[in-house]
């Protein structure tokens, strides 16, 4: 169980998150974190991952994040940053190897080799496993970043725009895999996404942020409404039920009028707590 309550984050003197409380997440939940640019999605991800200071409570399995210690937290909680691993002469295979050894995973060399091989095969990276990172496309590097997050077999996955550099096929493959993993092995995933249809398809809960504040949170169908989306994204949308059973968002046109103030958005049709 993961509880995220009253999170405030500052960058210097500037406050970026204001008292953000998300729905309680249980085993099997995938929460989609949505919002326009600079909404605070990545900032919240960094706070959850323990890589940025915050005020508030993050309770995982009944224990505060601070009680785990950075290395114990990182062994159970995988955070995939927004940007893919940088270009260098490093090989994906040796990156994963180093990560496993830095995390002090209790695996023999043979076990680790087998684990890395299966992970790279699953993500379609076997052919480039021994190619320098600078020769890989942005999409492939993003998949390497995902493999890096998954090397520790985490129970809590924090994915910051995991599909932003991927083509349609690999977006589906990656999120299918996340869904399958959560369904079969348990655990919780939080994914910051820009694609509303992917969020509707793969997430059973959504949280919508705007300018550092939580606008709406709850079950997917309750959050993805034309009214809420229009106010947050400043676009006219039509939401209907798709043939796969989840909401389908059709963007009609950008709104010409300036964005309405957040005070008008504090009582959406869904529950915040």
């Amino acid at each position: 169980m993961l509880q995220i309550q009253g999170i405030n984050v500052h960058y210097g003197r500037r406050q970026r998150l204001f008292d953000v409380t998300l729905p309680v997440l249980e085993d099997g939940d995938i929460l989609g974190l949505l919002g326009p640019n600079a909404a605070g999605k990545s900032t919240l991800m960094k706070a959850l991952s323990g890589t940025h200071a915050y005020q508030g409570n993050i309770l995982y399995k009944g224990k505060a994040q601070g009680q785990y210690g950075p290395s114990a937290w990182a062994k159970d909680v995988a955070y995939m940053p927004q940007s893919p691993p940088q270009e260098s002469a490093l090989l994906p295979f040796e990156l994963l190897w180093s990560a496993a050894r830095a995390l002090k995973l209790a695996l023999t060399d043979a076990e680790l080799r087998a684990l890395i091989e299966s992970l790279l095969n699953r993500l379609g990276l076997a052919e480039v496993a021994l190619a320098p990172m600078h020769s890989l496309s942005g999409g492939k590097r993003q998949l390497v970043g995902l493999a890096l997050a998954l090397i520790r077999n985490p129970r809590l996955l924090l994915l910051d725009e995991p599909t932003s550099a991927l083509d349609l096929h690999w977006r589906m493959v990656v999120l299918d895999w996340v869904r399958e993993r959560i369904d079969h092995q348990g655990g919780i995933a939080i994914a910051a996404l820009h694609d509303l249809d992917l969020a509707a398809r793969y997430c059973n809960k959504l949280a919508l942020l705007d300018r550092g504040r939580l606008v709406a949170a709850g079950p997917t169908e309750a959050v993805l409404t034309a009214d809420v989306l229009a106010r947050v994204f400043n676009v006219d949308v039509h939401v209907e039920k798709g043939i796969l059973g989840h909401p389908l968002v059709q963007v009609l046109r950008p709104q010409l009028a300036p964005k309405s103030s957040l005070t008008a958005l504090t009582s959406p049709s869904c529950s915040i707590k």
Binding site: A74, K75, Q86, L90, E117, L120, N121, H134
Partner: protein, 344 residues
């Protein structure tokens, strides 16, 4: 062939290359020992190293009191600068960084200038150690100042580079001031010290620099996994729960000590700490298990070869090795940049 097997072969290939570098270093050391005006060929040198008493006394003195310390200090200084170089480049995520990015070299020069210009005398200190001690103290101080201020400002790599550059220019300006107030002889000595010269060293200097390198190397090797991870970028390395500020603190401390000890006896020898890691990266890849010792090895090899050249290019003249490392280093560096552009 499975992926795991391919990776094992790659590691084996790199290990063989590493061994070849060790061999090249031994050959270079022997060539360095054989280079010089006295009529001592390679066979004599090897026989003398094996059985010193078999050599004539004058040759024994030349080999053991002159050439061996010069050749070994080249290896020790090169290794120290190479190790400091790879750690600096990785932790600052900057291929243009070198140990001297922290202002160590310019402050070492300032310390040496002060010793030369003012030549203070202390009853408890042998005069021959005054200059290296001053250079060492100032070099260490600059590293520690960078470390202190950058940590106080949050410990980011940008802060380390900015404080390092600021100190570099401060050291240059103050050294220029020392030259301005110094006598003509003092200015000559300062310029000569700044060029970098291996012939100033004896056995105590070899022992000090080697000990410094050997003490610090195991601490560097303890960080090889983290250093390798840093090549994926700070965001990804940090996502594994690693305290990167703490890693940066220890690396900068190690680099300051290594660079300060490396330059305090022989002067500022440029480019070795920059080029050594690049050559090692080209040959051994980014896995820091091999790259960290490999950088030390490559830099030691480069400085040793430069030492051989410095004694053989002009018969009867020993060119200060700092001139040669810059002359060789600049085109080599341009070649590396062109090569990197091509591979990218």
């Amino acid at each position: 062939m499975t992926l795991a097997l391919q990776y094992r072969r790659l590691v084996l290939r790199r290990t063989v290359l590493f061994a070849a570098l060790v061999l090249a270093l031994i050959v270079s050391l022997l060539l360095d020992l054989a280079a010089g005006p006295a009529n001592l060929d390679l066979a004599h040198i090897i026989a003398g190293l094996w059985q010193p008493e078999s050599m004539e006394l004058r040759y024994r003195i030349i080999l053991f009191d002159v050439r061996l310390p010069d050749a070994l200090i080249a290896l020790a200084v090169g290794a120290a600068l190479g190790l400091a170089g790879i750690e600096t480049q990785t932790v600052l995520n900057n291929p243009l960084a070198s140990p001297f990015t922290l202002g160590v070299s310019s402050f070492a020069a300032l310390g040496a200038s002060i010793a030369i210009v003012f030549a203070p005398s202390f009853p408890w200190l042998d005069d021959t150690f005054l200059l290296p001690l001053c250079a060492l103290s100032f070099a260490l101080a600059s590293g520690l100042v960078v470390l202190f201020f950058s940590q106080a400002m949050g410990g980011s790599r940008e802060n380390v580079v900015l404080f390092g550059i600021a100190l570099f220019f401060l050291g240059e300006a103050l050294t220029a001031a020392m030259q301005y107030i110094g006598s003509a002889e003092a200015v000559q000595d300062i310029v000569f010290w700044n060029i970098g010269n291996l012939t100033k060293a004896g056995w105590p200097e070899v022992a000090i620099v080697t000990t410094c390198f050997l003490v610090i190397l195991p601490f560097s090797l303890r960080h090889v996994w983290v250093l390798t991870l840093l090549r994926a970028g700070e965001a990804h390395a940090g996502s594994l729960g690693l305290n990167l500020n703490r890693v940066r603190f220890w690396v900068i401390l190690r680099v300051s000590i290594l660079a300060a000890f490396a330059v305090c006896f022989v002067g500022v020898i440029g480019f070795v700490g920059l080029i050594g890691p690049h050559v090692a990266r080209l040959l051994l890849g980014e896995d820091h298990r091999l790259l960290v010792p490999g950088s030390a090895l490559c830099a030691a090899l480069i400085l040793s070869l430069a030492s051989v050249l410095s004694k053989t290019l002009l018969p009867g003249v020993i060119i200060p090795v700092g001139i040669l490392t810059a002359l060789i280093g600049v085109p080599l560096f341009i070649l590396l940049i062109i090569n990197q552009k091509r591979t990218h």
